[in-house]
Symmetry: C2
Amino acid sequence: MIRIAIDGMGGDYAPQAIVEGAVLAANEFEYEIVLVGDESSLKQELKKYQVCAGRLFVHHASEIISMGEQPVKAIKRKKDSSLNVAIDLLKKKEVDAVVTAGNTGAAVACATLNLGLLKGIKRPGIAITFPSEHGISLAIDVGANVDPQPDHLLQYAIMAEIYSRCVLKKRSPSIGLLNVGEEESKGTERTKEAYRLLRDSGLNFVGNVEGRDFFSGKCDCVVCDGFVGNVVLKIAEGITDVVAKLFKKEIRKNPIAKLGAFLCKPVIQAIRRDTNYEECGGAPLFGVDGVVIISHGGSSGTAIKNAVRVAAQSVQQKINHQIVTEISQNEKELKLDNS
Amino acid sequence: MIRIAIDGMGGDYAPQAIVEGAVLAANEFEYEIVLVGDESSLKQELKKYQVCAGRLFVHHASEIISMGEQPVKAIKRKKDSSLNVAIDLLKKKEVDAVVTAGNTGAAVACATLNLGLLKGIKRPGIAITFPSEHGISLAIDVGANVDPQPDHLLQYAIMAEIYSRCVLKKRSPSIGLLNVGEEESKGTERTKEAYRLLRDSGLNFVGNVEGRDFFSGKCDCVVCDGFVGNVVLKIAEGITDVVAKLFKKEIRKNPIAKLGAFLCKPVIQAIRRDTNYEECGGAPLFGVDGVVIISHGGSSGTAIKNAVRVAAQSVQQKINHQIVTEISQNEKELKLDNS
């Protein structure tokens, strides 16, 4: 049976939301869940729920890495943190995957340092799944590698393609390169070289895509450097906040509009459901030697449950094995082309 | 009297919206407006309006650069385009400023090649004004310079500060550097060096800002490279489109929500008014030797009128003279620091 460790103490609503997610996953899926963190808090929280027998275990870890801590320092100082202990279980193959909603930087650093990179992979990358007009899309990298080389971007595309095909169930997923215009000649030296690599890669490369294509679903996977990817991610979060605040402020002044907003509620809920990141199940950390899913800091129980689902799918589909095979294939082809 | 040339043929709704804007400006402000473009179309369009005597002139230009044309090729081939002719009037000092809603790349290339750069300026930059929670903010660069050096970013900050103070009427405008985290150590080599330059510049530098701060109004001027700035600009446009589409789609299914949306209309209009780019009046092209305002391609008459207003303010406040003085001052200080 697949065993998934969940970092019980990581996330804005830990341990409550995390424990809820662990219970939902244990009851809905046939996996073993290992909740890692402070035993007494986790057991206290678990008292609220009924769980299928033999499906959920608690593994003690005495320390917590908070959301604001400096990643590398934190993982080095807090050896017994829930994150370190969960990754350690994965390293020792006592579990098949780790899900964490904690400090993203710490998760990347901890996984990279302790698990190492997959054979042939030059840099890890964080992918996020996000709702677009035509279903779920994937963007990589959103912050692990702020100054990548063009060949890192090619590797990200290869990993994103495999994940989109095997976990997101897309047939022949299309790849777009984020740029400032559609023409091949646009952008920086990095994007120009990455364009050439992607065009010659055998991937379903649709060319450059622009900011406006991000949510339009023009391609299944958007490849970008971690600097712009991170800015985009945080902007998307920021814009909805600002619009919601402005809306609430104006509504307060106008009782008729207040009624109107009430009548619109089902529509807003439907949009929320259709564009719900909770259903996407978190962001795979690609390139490390082990399956690690990084969930949004504000993850609810449902989001954690879905992260467990995609973690298990990544294990079942042997994503990392496929990545190693395709990367090595690609390297061989590049050598042949250059010889 | 200040004379402003308007590119009558540039923009998605040219010449109708442009002519409307020219008329509004001529009637509201005491400036002379020179509409540049195909004489017969412009005069035909002008028949719809009454204009203050002696305020609006038409200057013929036989060619049009369309929105999709390759900028440098277009300005070289179409010497008699409305854009080239308008910039030429500025070069010959027959007008004091140019407003265009046409092809942005062509406007940047045409202005840079024909007017040249201001003394001491290394690269031109496009700024955009946008609504934030605390009023109008400015972002620079949004696409003129996709791979800038750190000292280009410092020059952008200096130019943005002067414009925010003199035209947007901000007292001691604050400057933020767009980055992937708040700490000084975050980001790329470019942002780390730009951070040091900005910190030591004497500007009101508030440090790194993140994507989420873009619309929160954390600083008056966001400085960024033209690659990320361009992506952000296009994402912001894209997100509203996607949300509007989803909303319309869901509303169609639900008559009660349709009524609700109707009741919310005044609130949505109020938000639109508060966050209306039309009021901002277009994006100044900084660093070229002449006042050039680039308006949104979809500009309405009101947007064009406001672009004329900020163009005239830039002339009155002698923005370019102030830029040359402050840049030379800054260079001297840098030399002193290094000697």
